[in-house]
């Protein structure tokens, strides 16, 4: 079914990422006003999602944090043994994803932890091992590293090393990731590729509110530990009609957002809206781009990407994380293995530079629309 872009684009914010001189809106922590020149009032999500079901499903226009809030609400409502915890989640969290949950479900189910990431995740694994749904929040993905040992050595291997006697499948770790315009080294990182190297966990990244709600519910209910990265830039900026009620979107299933014939673009999270802009610009020059949202990074949907590349013969992967060792490398290697004779051009990766995430240099560092467009044209004319 052809997906047509029917919604207005949140042009200002996305274009701002391409123009270093422009002032960015800063989604402030806990602050209700958006400072800066760019004010997004009723801007719509750039990357639209496929309707889970056609027909008369009632929908509501929500932003990303509200959609996530709804998903968490439903998760707690439908399973009495689910708990949400992390730093500052009780009052609603620094990004408001957990607003009102403590009031609704009580402080024994939605509670704050001290500042101890390793402790939070270790504790969550234990809770999950006793068949509870432990939804742990790490305040910023940049702070997830103290918990890395627990995730890699404990969560990922528990089922395997106990011969399926035990598991922590009820574990879901949520963390905001990605650039936000002014985050600097420790509020902008995209650490997804570290976790993609670990068999035993799943890594899921939504691109928009409707996707986030469905994917989060799937992640929480999936019988495997899931690390769920939320694009923090989109918490307020991405607005979309989100179906009300309980629904789940499948994990390990990529989605073709836009069909095309000349080149396949693969991405996830906030980067997709940049890629979509590039696709639109490319189509003005007669290049037909197919855009795929991977949604689940591991285990990833090789078949969909392979089928697409077999159709177009070209592949471009884009992510904010540094290019060397980023997840684009895995996609590239896999597709080359599978589609070598079909490929018309080398696989292009338009990613962050191999530097720590910079402060003032962020506009240069980011894989912007123009860089992607450039790579599309190079690939097509190879």
């Amino acid at each position: 079914m052809r997906i047509s872009i029917t919604r207005a684009l949140s042009i200002l914010q996305r274009c701002a990422r391409d123009c270093p001189q422009q002032q960015h809106s800063s989604p402030s922590v806990g602050n209700s006003t958006l400072s800066g020149a760019v004010r997004l009032l009723s801007s719509q999500a750039l990357a639209t999602s496929k309707e889970p079901e056609a027909g008369n499903v009632p929908k509501k226009s929500l932003n990303l944090f509200s959609a996530i809030n709804q998903a968490l609400h439903i998760a707690l409502e439908t399973d009495p043994r689910s708990y949400i915890f992390g730093e500052d989640v009780n009052f609603g969290g620094v990004f408001r994803c957990t607003t009102n949950l403590a009031d609704t479900f009580g402080k024994h189910r939605v509670f704050n932890t001290p500042l101890c990431e390793q402790g939070i995740v270790g504790f969550a694994i234990g809770l999950a091992a006793m068949d509870n749904r432990a939804i742990a929040e790490i305040q910023f993905a940049d702070y997830i590293y103290p918990a890395f040992d627990q995730i890699v050595n404990e969560a990922a291997k528990f089922r395997y090393r106990s011969g399926n006697q035990f598991n922590c499948g009820g574990l879901t770790i949520r963390a905001p990731y990605g650039a936000v315009g002014h985050g600097g080294h420790y509020h902008s990182q995209s650490p997804e590729s570290f976790f993609c190297h670990v068999p035993g966990i799943k890594v899921v990244i939504p691109r928009s509110p409707a996707q986030a709600k469905g994917l989060l519910l799937s992640s929480i209910r999936d019988p495997n530990p899931v690390v769920f990265f939320e694009p923090k830039w989109l918490y307020r900026q991405s607005v979309e009609d989100v179906p009300e009620g309980d629904y789940m979107l499948p994990l390990s299933k990529a989605e073709v957002m836009r069909e095309g014939t000349d080149i396949t673009l693969v991405g996830w999270g906030a980067q997709l809206s940049v890629m979509e802009q590039a696709c639109i610009d490319a189509s003005k020059e007669g290049i037909s781009c197919e855009l795929i949202d991977l949604r689940t990074l591991i285990p990833w949907d090789r078949e969909t990407v392979e089928a697409s590349v077999n159709k177009t013969g070209r592949l471009l992967v884009s992510h904010e994380a540094p290019v060397t060792g980023g997840f684009g490398a895995e996609i590239s290697a896999s597709i080359v293995e599978r589609c070598f004779l079909r490929l018309e051009a080398p696989v292009a990766r338009v990613c962050g530079y191999d530097t720590p995430f910079p402060l003032v240099f962020e506009p240069f560092y980011m894989p912007t629309k123009n860089k992607i467009l450039d790579a599309i044209k190079t690939s097509v004319s190879y």
């Binding site: 002032q23 800063s26 402030s28 922590v29 806990g30 602050n31 400072s35 800066g36 730093e87 500052d88 009052f91 704050n112 001290p114 500042l115 101890c116 390793q118 402790g119 940049d142 702070y143 590293y145 103290p146 002014h182 985050g183 600097g184 080294h185 420790y186 509020h187 884009s318 290019v323 060397t324 080398p346 292009a348 990766r349 338009v350 990613c351 962050g352 530079y353 191999d354 530097t355 720590p356 910079p358 402060l359 003032v360 240099f361 240069f364 560092y365 894989p367 860089k371 992607i372 450039d374 790579a375 190079t378």
Partner: protein, 420 residues
């Protein structure tokens, strides 16, 4: 006074401690409550008082009353409570703290007008810790702290121009504009910087102390962290190592009672930090009183340099602003509480009151001084605003040592950047 104030870059003359207060100390007598210190028997009270009068800290003839006693943990004796000071020291402290306060207020305005972007964690209210600590240390001692580092940077001899430049991401910043607010450094004064990740100062400071001990230097490392960080696992690892190897590290806890928005009693089972470990002694200090901090740090430094191992100094302090500029600071604290601290325990007010009481200066003169400091700080900020941004190659420089010739791959493998 006049000549000192007129400078091209405003900095704290923290050399003060090196000349004056550094000599005193010695074995000071324990005073004050706290359930964890061992109380002496009445029989030795008289002897104690005799000893008191002989042990003092600070040169000068103005006696300072320490408002709040020290609380001790696993220590026989505590810091000196007979603290003396001089007009020069008082005026210098007043100046230094005023510069610090002004800088933070200027940073607030700059952030609101978007000249400073990113994150900005302000230090106003906690000035006594920086100034008091520096009065007890030298630049041979190593200091590192977390992200609320503007005050410590200035205390370590950084200039407001360097600080503003760094905050605004300019080339003239102390980290060439690459670090921003949380990452101010000053190598020549052994200030190992601000660190973004909570708790890292613990292990790192312990490492610095190990190096100092190895090199047989009569110096300490001061690892500063807050009440929010106190529950990080890595601190316990570090503190155990420090105690095991008798490292000269002072763990200075800036307890401003709120870890971002969470009150200390909601994050910690026991909201005191100086007495957490049975094998590391600790002192609890009134962190709003620069002289208490100075006396405690002198004692702590002596303890460490004598090879007795690490020590924790918990400073009871308060920050007027919220956690960062994104936090109004009023959703988890009442206005009365903040105003109460401003009225009753403001560190600058305390010094001002001593100055006025001792008639070392008049209210008008101090006001003039305030105005002058304000003007100068704002001039430095304006200068910093005019400074250029770092050059493009700085995006790729200093990733590695000797990264000349390093090939960095950008987006698309074809886009390679070779460093000159």
């Amino acid at each position: 006074m006049g000549s000192r104030v007129v400078q091209s870059s405003v900095r704290l003359a923290s050399a003060l401690g090196r000349g004056l207060g550094g000599g005193g100390g010695g074995v000071a007598v324990a005073r004050g409550g706290g359930g964890t210190d061992r109380r002496r028997g009445l029989a030795s009270e008289a002897a104690q008082q005799r000893r008191d009068s002989e042990k003092r800290v600070g040169s000068g003839d103005i006696r300072v009353d320490l408002l709040n006693p020290f609380e001790l943990h696993r220590l026989h004796d505590g810091p000196a409570t007979d603290v003396f000071t001089s007009k020069e020291e008082l005026m210098q402290m007043y100046m230094d703290m005023t510069v610090l306060r002004r800088m933070e207020l200027a940073a607030d305005m700059l952030f609101k007008s978007q000249q400073i972007r990113g994150f900005c964690h302000l230090y106003d209210g906690q000035e006594a810790i920086s100034v008091g600590m520096e009065a007890a240390l030298t630049y041979e001692d190593s200091v590192l702290t977390a992200y609320r580092d503007h005050g410590i940077f200035l205390g370590r001899g950084g200039t407001t121009f360097e600080a503003f430049s760094e905050l605004m991401g300019k080339k003239t910043g102390c980290a060439i504009g690459k670090g921003g607010s949380m990452h101010l450094y000053k190598r020549e004064n052994n200030y190992y910087g601000g660190w973004g990740i909570v708790g890292t100062s613990g292990p790192l400071g312990t490492g610095l102390a190990f190096a100092l001990k190895y090199q047989k230097k009569p110096n300490v490392a001061v690892a500063i962290y807050g009440d929010g960080a106190a529950n990080q696992g890595q601190l316990y690892e570090a503190q155990n190592c420090a105690a095991l190897w008798d490292l000269p590290v002072i763990y200075l806890v800036e307890n401003n009672h709120y870890g971002m928005g969470t009150a200390e009693w909601r994050a910690s089972k026991k909201a005191t930090f100086f007495d957490r470990l049975s094998y590391i002694p600790g002192i609890k200090v009134d962190g709003m009183d620069a002289f208490s901090v100075k006396a405690a740090m002198l004692f702590a430094k002596e303890h460490c340099v004598a090879g007795k191992g690490p020590i924790v100094v918990e400073c009871d302090t308060y920050r007027y602003h919220g956690h960062s500029m994104s936090d109004p600071g009023s959703t988890y604290r009442s206005r009365d509480e903040v105003q109460g601290f401003r009225k009753e325990r403001d560190p600058i007010e305390r010094i001002r009151n001593i100055i006025l009481k001792e008639e070392l200066s008049t209210a008008e003169e101090l006001k003039k001084l305030d105005k002058q400091v304000r003007r100068e700080v704002e001039e430095e900020a304006a200068k910093a605003r005019e400074a250029p941004q770092p050059e493009e190659h700085e995006l790729f420089s200093n990733i590695y040592r000797l990264d000349t010739g390093l090939v960095t791959y950008g987006c698309d493998r074809k886009d390679t950047i070779k460093l000159p």
